[in-house]
Subunit: 196 residues, 2 copies
């Protein structure tokens, strides 16, 4: 029977990890971004559909393009982050199921059912965004996820050709700890959970 | 500078972890469910809004109630699982922001904007569901997430009073490994990622 991971690991992933607003100048390397993807890609998605797409904004120029879509409170920290990730969704994700789900003709489940395709794309790309946050922590990076931005504007700026949708943003780097509030309360087990 | 977690840890969380369809008879304890929640609750959500609610179906009777809502392919494995979690969403999550986000009147951002509230609830409860899957792996459990079920039916059966919404299901326990396929392919970095 497999045992729990060490407390130090749980602290890195969950109990002591914090959303970061400011990062040190240390760049995030090519190798780290590939390692990040090569972990998060293994997180489970429905029928392995893997609808998330990740746009890594690595240069100041690329982040300048994003700037007009950001909520005012997210501009400064994003412009200064080593990398900003646009967690996006490919609405035509089902065209890749021939590779991703060779067991059955899963493409047909979605291609003829736009409501199911949209729901599946959104839920599963969000799961993959969470895997990215935790995979970043696992490889020694820290994350600053954000949903304060104009999604339609991001799509105009970056996805006019691909037709991808924007889901949320994540700043990545090594947190400086600056501006991190004391941990806010969470709901107790009895407030968030029911046992039947 | 923090270093990466060990390869063995990354294997437990990502590279060797697999969705499980069948579980051993070993029960999931009260303590494990509390430990699971006490980790996942620290995963980041927008303005700490924490909209997910978790219904742990621990008895055969509780899972029988769920049965009519399940897709045929999900019935047998769910009836035999030690625990099935309904990952749900409280559409009135913003009523808890007085506790969760004491820095500002965040309730007002959502209470007057139903579209933003719905989008926020769905995205963030899905993130929390992903944190549950990875937290389960971190404490020595394994997960079998499923979206093949009738969401409206689950809401009729379980949430007629609370008004919660169903998002997805997760079987939990210690996987027997039975019925696990060879790992299906993932998209390559160049298929899923863009660097700008």
């Amino acid at each position: 029977m497999r045992s729990s991971l060490d407390e130090a690991v749980l602290a890195t992933l969950f109990t002591e990890a914090r959303t970061q607003y400011h990062f040190t100048d240390t760049p995030v390397s090519d190798e780290e971004l590939r390692r990040l993807y090569d972990l998060l890609k293994y997180g489970p998605t429905s029928a392995n559909c893997s609808p998330a797409r990740f746009v890594f904004l690595r240069t100041a120029e690329a982040r300048e393009r994003l700037k007009p879509a950001l909520s005012p409170g997210n501009v400064e920290k994003t412009m200064a982050a080593p990398v900003t990730v646009i967690v996006a969704t490919d609405p035509l994700f089902f065209d890749r199921l021939i590779k991703l789900f060779p067991h059955a003709d899963a493409r047909a489940w979605f291609a003829g059912n736009p409501a199911l395709a949209e729901e599946t794309a959104l839920r599963n790309s969000t799961l993959q965004g969470a895997y990215l946050i935790l995979a970043a922590r696992a490889i020694g990076l820290e994350a600053g996820p954000m949903s304060g931005f104009d999604r339609a504007r991001v799509e105009e700026i970056f996805f006019a050709e691909s037709g991808w949708k924007s889901n949320f943003l994540v700043n990545l780097g090594r947190g400086s700890g600056e501006g991190v509030f004391p941990r806010a309360p969470r709901l107790d087990f009895s407030e968030a959970c029911i046992e039947l």
